[in-house]
Symmetry: C2
Subunit: 432 residues, 2 copies
Amino acid sequence: MLPMSQKDNWPHVVIIGGGFAGINAAKALARAPVRITVIDRKNHHTFQPLLYQVALAVLSPAEIASPIRSVLRRCRNVQVLLGEVTGFDLQNRRVQAKGEGPGKSYEISYDYLVVAAGVTHAYFGHPEWEHLAPGLKTIEDATEIRRRVLLAFENAEREAIAHARQGSLNFVVIGAGPTGVELAGAISDISKRHMRDDFRAIDPAQARVILLEGGPRVLPTFPEDLSASARKQLEEMGVEVRTNALVTGIEPGSVMVGGETIPAAVVLWGAGVAASSLGKLLGVPTDRAGRVLVQPDLSVPGHPEVFVAGDLAAAKMADSRFVPGVAPAAIQMGRFVARQIKRSLEGEPREQFAYIDRGTLATIGRSKAVADLGRLHFSGYLAWMAWLFIHILFLIGFRNRFMVMAEWAWDYITYNHSARLITGEREDNPRK
Amino acid sequence: MLPMSQKDNWPHVVIIGGGFAGINAAKALARAPVRITVIDRKNHHTFQPLLYQVALAVLSPAEIASPIRSVLRRCRNVQVLLGEVTGFDLQNRRVQAKGEGPGKSYEISYDYLVVAAGVTHAYFGHPEWEHLAPGLKTIEDATEIRRRVLLAFENAEREAIAHARQGSLNFVVIGAGPTGVELAGAISDISKRHMRDDFRAIDPAQARVILLEGGPRVLPTFPEDLSASARKQLEEMGVEVRTNALVTGIEPGSVMVGGETIPAAVVLWGAGVAASSLGKLLGVPTDRAGRVLVQPDLSVPGHPEVFVAGDLAAAKMADSRFVPGVAPAAIQMGRFVARQIKRSLEGEPREQFAYIDRGTLATIGRSKAVADLGRLHFSGYLAWMAWLFIHILFLIGFRNRFMVMAEWAWDYITYNHSARLITGEREDNPRK
């Protein structure tokens, strides 16, 4: 019953994580003489750049997520396991993992290991904030945010109809990095346009969207002129942008900034990421965020057969800055690691990873974005069209590219949102 | 802030439930001089006849569910409230309800009340079976079934790869009514065709699907020749059909039928429905299943201003059988009740509800179905085409009709499933 028995003597490559780095490493090794096992806690690859569109009910989960099995179906030397990695034995080249249910632990030995487990939210020493201000990394995060945002409008309508009083429609987004900016812009978009005709007692356009940033400017990784443009575009959309606003507390219904208390129907977190705990489990040096300090070939010190790729890798560039945690970098790292494994099999020396920066885009809202293409900076409609075009191209490989395009086109024409479902159980009324 | 103040003296119609009966009652009253409030526990109307396709990962939730607000957006005299009805005061014409969160109870007074709260699962005195064998009534039910079915294949693959042993791929469906038959046929379909190339260590086509029916035949509400045909079609697909098989126990991993224990990786429930508990809360006579015994005009005894419509109504037909709990009956009842309210406003007497039976279809699997059009019975491909055609027509009014057709067409051509996502938390590893 064991698979590929005729190729059992091929080296075994274990890839942990089915994100951009892991999937691209597996695909790049599809024709190499290796056996590959991809392990992920989720059964699906998520196209994270569009996750915020699920959170704001523009797209459905299945439109931006595909089962890892389907993505890698044609790679006949790849097997996929749903499981959570619990430990490493680098000396004996073994990975410990567990599946669903008690007593389902198992070990898998490898010849080459690629750890591409990504990042999660960081709450800067306040784990109790996680429940109050969800971040956006997974499909579950996105549907939870969707539930909270839609419920806020529902609750405000109920307050107005049943109690003849104005409910709160304050949305507070903490952190003005790309995710925070996307969320703030998208909430403004849907409240001003998409929900216009849906309510009777409230005016959804009266929703306040407050974007809090601890630092001095929005999109801090972008050049200053684009930060200024992004802020201007956000303010044109009605988003209240507050920089140098360090959050000191979050409670149900409010956010504290210094001595001030801001009422909030919904609080969302876009403030920080921390490396997957698997970085620390490797037992090799990490940076403060828990990312693994990799060698120039993305291997870990002392273990040339172990690579770290994607957001979990702290890889230095020539100018000694770190490679940014963006999808193109993860894709490039995944492919690079695959090439190094092939080179080792052929007895060739390792190369040094060099990130090719083709530019960075951040979307703000309908027809609003910023684009940083090195010396060329642009903003507004043109940047947004570039963002749209690139993300449609990116979705190649996804079976539902056509669907996403059709959905977007329909949405654009009708200002309609199809995916505005509140699912999951009511918090005060669990079914079981 | 209260809506429609200029029309405040119009009679107030409160409709409980945004299913087929409730939505159609509201739509039919859209141009009448009444104010309408639709209350539902969910924010979305679910197209239940296609729910099993979400459960088996063919369609996404948003493709068969639409926000009730969107469905009724153009009915300017309709307001929608997300809330759970907790009680009735028929003497004072008031409905008690609550929204999300503690202390969110409220009352709404009505001039006319339409209770269309539908049905839920019945476990025949075994509430502990609900968690072990989920039924299929809501989007949440469907995604839970999807999660369990997909996990069964994942776990079998893990058993084979990590422990070199054969995991169980037994799927047991209890109850051979339309839902049970759909589920059994669809599991057989996806295991034999759609998952063919996705696994390396197991052969998904080896999955066993066992359909247990306590009575003597499948689809017991259909004529006997069609029951026989349905059984034959199921068996052609490899489903093991066992009639007169009364389930006596369900435990994790197994189902008991008399003295026999059947191992089961997944158990699904299609055996029975019970009326919404709102039927009992009305304080009027109900049948054994909790359905309200309505007058010929679908009002409740002693309260001509209170109607029950849809599956919750036990309405007698001319031959003294009850109107069946199917979508066309719910639609007809919703429209009928709306017409009676308009007649009362105009001082006209009530009519008697008469169900128009245009025939019944049950789908079994790809290219397999049965159709009962009175004297005309047919089976197989032709019945399936009729089923497909009618359900596409039915979806009119849904904004995503085109999407569903495109999805189906794509699926038909490629044998591919886009919606094969496992979402929700692992049972042994809650996030919070």
